[in-house]
Symmetry: C2
Subunit: 494 residues, 2 copies
């Protein structure tokens, strides 16, 4: 049986969407189990399974002798406002915090909200194993054959087919397979920039991007970003008009960490801006399949008529994290990217490329995504509820239309590096806001990834993060008072 | 049956070594089949198999009714002399020739001497397939688990054990797995240099290194290199004393393309020089397992007491070309390399790492290498014979103690880019000498890789390369005379 295609999950997904869309109102009574079974032409036990799954996701609650009700909406926190990074570009120096955070964030001894990775239980391991084994049986000769060139054609064709879902008709012969999305983006930046050049990007942005900029000695120009609509194109336009920006790096769908999704009209405008300025947009579509609505998945690249968008993707967030492959379509920089790729790391392991091609072609692919989106959405809902209940007064949190990342703004007095250290002492890992900018503008913020293992321990630990934040704030207040007192004494002693 | 462990091959290998060492002289009669069988305590048919295998390798010849004789040594050509590159560093710009050559060099429609890759038939495909399948069965959970960190510990431990054969006791926790040796070297250079820095390297050198330098905007300082003993350390010392060299990149064992092997005393001296100057040697040991004698396999790293040697390796030339993994031990640059690696391409596919670890641990590993060395040595012998017979007068060729690469110096009047083009027209691919330097010093040379498919068609094609070279030279002579005539007419017309 393919659990992802299971009937009860399809029913649960449909209901979950109605609840999230508000079609089924909070507190409303759900149809009886018998009604549900009849409506969908399924057995009562399938209907019960569907409700249990929604209950697990805390979208509905059972009330004794009354049936199921749509769960009360968790108390809502306000969202962060548009970011206001400085208008000058900065060299990047993240220091060791990011590396330390990543190390701990993947250490199974810690409860981790630090990583932006979905947990293994979200994937159909059996299907992946069967597919990989079959790829090896069928293509055994490739195991001892030297890989050269852009990657297996079968995989490049499937990637091109998948890109149609993003509105992009790509030529498979211009797709390069890579060792993951990070490598794709590094190649794109190397092809389009020289050391010292300015790269514009969302603010806050993924620390992995900042590390690449740091390593390539590029300057980061952080652009104001709205937590719902992403990059402010007016601000970007101003930057392009006044500064020698050489490339724009962005995640238009489910940006990391804000979870913003750029509206379609803006996507078209962004493509036109790149074309007009003759510089590339490096568009990372790694999260596109996790967005709830189809229109949010359409890539900026689909509006690109001049080859100024370089498209970078991977399937590690949506198909199988343990198959480390990505891809890039380099637009008018294709030849240069191809040369850099060949010279930097050669090819990938061909049998794994073919296994991935097979996985992407299987009929369960789309329903697997629906399942993933639905489970993740339930976790995010629950996490937002915990944050609303446990975090200090004044906390703001994003409400992203998909994905498993929340961006939390705590009261300005809190330094989340101290929160990070204090949480580590209790074996909890978070990603402090300082990692997400070349400035110290987000020192009171944290990114919380809730795509990892998720059970009661995680829920308790998340609440505990809020309590620790609160106690750090409390501890600061008297010391602030003491500092004022000391300052007063010094003044009076002079 | 494991063909690599087969008894007849072990016997053939022993005999082949005696022939190559001269213990069995050219023209000498071999023991009778019965004698051989008795001496080794094997059946007559096994002894026949051993002789057939030596015959295939053209090391012995059967004479009707007289038995087997050591084959006559092919006519010997002189070896190239020590290279004399310019004493200034140069920016690198290889243009499109390398990419074009690589593309064609792996196109099965061409007979290729362009690639430096062993052909698939040299590897035990069954063993690899079984091992990879088993790794997937045993570690299936890893297929859906996000890889983080330096690579699977099992593989890093096996790499450390293998490095003992190079005389290097490495700490597995300081080994990083990579996507191949090219990635390792790119990381090492990025960790140790800034754009514009000078890197010293062998001359001629592997074009892949020059491409990396070009991409990282580093300057190449080519050091005189002896075709037998490698880098001239006196010349290197002079360079270090007079120029701001920031790193040395070298292949002390079986350099590409010369096949030089640095003597042990020189290895010790090189390690000390790096230490004294406080700069890294980036040592590529990708070919060490292909060297005929153990002392040639010992790494410079084994003499490094101060962490100034960064060791880069891979198993794609010796275990399985289709498993695209390499490694690096970054010495005192370890932390920086680790950060660059994490930020540039993250981890590799964990199940493939574990499959490789298993392959490297299997008992057949060492005998597989012996087999590989012996088959390759026979091909190289045969290729040198063809070159001696078919190439133009004045040709020189290397006589490397292992590996499958020959460096051929043709008469100075020949431009091997023209030879490359003329060979392509006959569906033969060679690597023109211009690729192996930032100067045009080697425009009359070619590199011939004979590790690929090897049968009569290859032997004929190799002879054809010599004939085409000869005809190009012939065509040049009258045209040189015509040019002189034209010059004379112009002079007299003035």
């Amino acid at each position: 049986m393919d659990p992802h295609g299971a009937l009860y999950l399809q029913i649960a997904d449909t209901l979950a969407q109605s609840i999230r869309a508000g079609t089924l109102a909070r507190g409303e009574r759900m149809p009886s189990v018998r009604d549900l079974a009849r409506r969908h032409g399924v057995s009562v036990s399938t209907a019960v399974q569907a409700y249990r799954s929604l209950e697990d996701a805390q979208l509905i609650e059972a009330r004794p002798r009354s049936g199921y009700f749509v769960a009360a909406r968790p108390p809502r926190l306000p969202e962060p406002e548009v970011s206001r990074p400085p208008e000058r570009s900065l060299p990047v120096d993240l220091g060791e915090v990011a590396a330390h955070m990543i190390r701990v964030g993947h250490d199974p001894q810690y409860i981790s909200f630090g990583a932006a990775c979905p947990s293994a239980d979200l994937f159909d391991n059996d299907r992946v194993r069967r597919t990989v084994s079959r790829a090896i049986q069928r293509n055994r000769a490739l195991l001892t054959h030297y890989p050269v060139g852009p990657g297996q054609e079968a995989l490049r064709r499937v990637i091109a087919r998948q890109a149609l879902r993003l509105g992009c008709p790509l030529d498979p012969s211009r797709i390069l397979v890579s060792n993951g999305c990070l490598e794709s983006i590094t190649l794109a930046l190397r092809a389009a920039t020289e050391p010292g050049d300015i790269v514009a990007l969302e603010s806050p942005t993924y620390f992995g991007f900042l590390e690449i900029l740091e390593n390539l000695r590029l300057r980061a120009l952080e652009i104001p970003t709205h937590p719902r609509t992403g990059l402010s194109l007016d601000a970007l336009q101003l930057a392009l008009d006044t500064q020698p920006v050489r490339a724009v790096l962005a995640v238009p769908t489910l940006s990391n960490p804000l979870g913003s999704c750029m509206p379609q009209t803006e996507r078209r405008r962004l493509a036109q801006m790149m074309s007009a300025h003759g510089i590339p947009l490096i568009e990372d579509v790694i999260y596109n399949e996790l967005a709830e609505q189809d229109d949010k998945r359409r890539a900026v690249k689909s509006f690109d008529e001049t080859g100024h968008v370089m498209l970078c993707g991977s399937f590690s967030k949506t198909v199988s994290p343990g198959i480390r492959l990505g891809w890039i379509e380099g637009g008018r920089w294709h030849d240069k990217v191809a040369r850099l790729k060949a010279a930097t790391s050669g090819g990938q392991t061909p049998v794994m490329e073919l296994a991935l091609a097979d996985l992407l072609s299987q009929p369960g692919y789309e329903s697997g995504h629906r399942h993933l989106r639905s489970v993740i959405a339930a976790r995010v809902d629950q996490a937002r509820g915990v944050i609303a209940r446990s975090f200090p007064k004044g906390t703001r949190v994003t409400d992203p239309p998909g994905g498993f990342i929340l961006w939390v703004e705590l009261p300005a007095a809190l330094d989340t590096r101290a929160l990070f250290e204090a949480c580590l002492a209790e074996r909890i890992c978070i990603a402090p806001g300082a990692l997400f900018s070349a400035t110290d503008r987000y020192r009171h913020c944290v990114r919380l990834g809730v795509g990892g293992r998720w059970d009661d321990a995680q829920v308790r630990a998340l609440g505990r993060v809020g309590e620790i934040a609160e106690s750090l704030l409390q501890a600061q207040r008297p010391s602030a008072a003491a500092a004022a007192f000391r300052a007063e004494r010094i003044r009076s002693a002079v």
